[in-house]
């Protein structure tokens, strides 16, 4: 009975509750302006998930940067849910009264627009990475939308392919494992592989299969491909390291680890270890530590009016970042600086890794 009574009265308000509610509301509404308006901005990182090594390192980079400038840092995780990603950002904008710097890896391409628009109207500074619609440009949202950063997938796919071809001696058959077919990175990296194949007629692509970025699927696929092609497989091209390590374990089960070189992208720890033991020929990384810190640094410098985004050249507004390639030659050094210890980075070198404006 009491349940029913409370449900019936739900939504009814007496005068005291109304007064208290209004009072609390006013207090909250008054707070942000006074507390944050003149204060330092809050640094905000918005990423997809913390369950993959890539974004986990991204967060470390963001925290390292925040510590270097002594600012508060908040990480928002969308868990692959675009609505949640955007709603969390809007909540942070409301909480900080727009005095914030956002570095965002939008969950999906269309998400970039509402994120940028919300930041513009709140007066926050935003840097996006990887995903944005082709017709959304930082220059149209001066000065709030500072920069957009991507990494050239075609160049990366081509670069690892060429290292692989060299590792197998310039001729022979290879198999390739691609990412989720609908993603831009997967399409671009494959295109890079195709370009490298076109330039190397002695290399034969035995089969291209899709393992959806996952090492478990790559494991099964590689075992099956070993049946189909056997000893004709001289090398494995993987569109990311996770699939590369799956392929490596499949090779290991057949006693082929180290005999058939693998190349991948991302620079995850397992792959770097495999480069050290000679099981991977190379891996390249967009350096999520740099992405996490530099995205905030570029945004923060613009927010503090250290530079005016509107006067920057196009290649500082929408650019490809430089990838770092990890091969036998530099792996020990990379390991020492990036895995055994946190890398040291010059966060003021804002444009040091710009390789050019993004292709239209």
């Amino acid at each position: 009975m009491s349940d029913r009574a409370s449900i019936a009265h739900f939504g009814q308000i007496n005068r005291r509750t109304l007064m208290m509610g209004a009072g609390a509301g006013l207090a909250v509404a008054a707070m942000p302006k006074r507390l944050w308006a003149q204060g330092a901005p809050t640094l905000v990182t918005s990423i997809r998930s913390l369950s993959n090594p890539y974004h986990a390192v991204w967060k470390t980079g963001a925290e390292a940067y925040a510590a270097s400038v002594g600012l508060e840092h908040v990480t928002l995780v969308s868990e692959g849910n675009s609505e949640k990603g955007i709603a969390d950002i809007k909540a942070m904008l409301a909480k900080t009264g727009g005095n914030m710097v956002l570095n965002s890896d939008p969950n999906d391409t269309p998400d970039a627009r509402p994120i940028v628009e919300a930041c513009k109207s709140a007066g926050a500074s935003v840097v996006t990475q990887w995903n944005k619609p082709a017709d959304l440009h930082p220059r149209d949202f001066n000065p709030n939308y500072v920069s957009h950063i991507e990494f050239d997938g075609i160049a990366s796919g081509k670069q690892i392919a060429e290292i692989l071809f060299k590792a197998i001696g310039g001729s022979g058959g290879i198999i390739a494992l691609g990412g989720l077919i609908s993603t831009t990175a997967a399409i671009e990296r494959k295109k890079g592989l195709d370009e490298a194949l076109a330039a190397n007629p002695n290399i034969k692509l035995l089969d291209f299969q899709v393992a959806n970025w996952k090492s478990t699927e790559a494991f099964d696929l590689t075992s099956n491909l070993l049946t189909r092609f056997g000893d004709d497989i001289k090398g494995v091209w993987a569109a990311n390291d996770d699939m590369g390590t799956g392929a490596l374990e499949a090779l290991r089960a057949e006693g082929l680890a180290g005999k058939v070189p693998i190349v991948g992208i991302d620079g995850i720890k397992t792959a770097v270890d495999a480069v050290r033991t000679g099981e991977f020929a190379c891996t390249i990384t967009s350096d999520p530590f740099w992405q996490g810190g530099m995205g905030l640094s570029i945004g923060y410098n613009a927010h503090m009016k250290k530079f005016d985004p509107a006067t920057q050249p196009p290649e500082h507004r929408e650019f490809y970042g430089k990838v770092v390639s990890i091969t036998k030659d530099n792996v020990e050094e990379y390991y020492k600086n990036n895995i055994d210890s946190k890398p040291t980075m010059d966060w003021n070198d804002l444009w040091g890794r710009v390789t050019g404006a993004i292709r239209a």
Binding site: N224, R228, T245
Partner: protein
Amino acid sequence: MQSFWSRAGKARRWRAFAPLAVLIVLCILIAIANPNFIEPRNLIRVANSAAVPLTLAMGMTFIILLGSIDLSVEGAMSVAAMVLVLLATNDSNANNYGWFAVVAAIAASTVMGLASGFLQTTLRIPSFMATLGVWFIGLGFSVYMLGGSAVRLMDENIRALALSRFLGFPLAVWIALAAFAVAIVIQYHTRIGRHIMAIGGGEDVAELSGINLRRVRIMAFGLAGFFFGVAGVLAAAQLGQSNAVIADGRLFAAVTAVVVGGTALTGGEGGVLNTLVGVLIVTVLANGMILLGISPYIQQTVQGLMIIAAVALSLDRFNLKIVK
């Protein structure tokens, strides 16, 4: 009238063998197209890639026989793999508990299963929602514990589950077969097995005949958790590492295998033998499509068609009163 019923009976018996027939036809077709398929090396690979799905599907079969569903597969597996890798020799902490890590891993996921059963029976939450919740709890927990990165499993003895062989087959295959044998014994020779079938066939009747629904449900989900744990250990051993998303996509594969094998989602019909056939169909199909060089762009479509065909064949669907 007499002849109609006997004909229907015959049809039903034929249908029980439909999945097996599908498997055999599939094998013959693939072998004709690419003789490499029946090479011993390939058959060993098929067995190896069936090991994890088979172990998982054993657990799932009992739940589907109950007429319930267990969505916690990916969470339970990921917790098991996480516990295993963090307690055994690894590259992230200094633990080195050897086989105790395996026991702890399986125990952790069994507890998760018992918790699913407990939530359903005590709070009266449908299995669909209860296990969905447990899935995310488990996943969140292993993300937290692993700190988002992949941790390598470096205990040679546990890695040997995937890397060493007995009679040509990796040890993982033998463990999956042992799990299968255990499941057979449970289903056909124990009281809990018979009670699960009875509840799936008709929960109210089962209750009236004195079966303790609550206990059977909790035990069945615990049992499923046990199998998911074993699968988690095998998966981590195969990949030589564990990350929170090690079980991605396994839920779908397990349910597919059970249903393709001819176990009805309505419960009370089918069993672990069917599931063995179902797992083999799914694995052979995946292997075969790669051997035949079918474009990755259409492989998924073929798998979807296969599922629909197998389910349509294996159940007497036209006599179903309701399709939901």
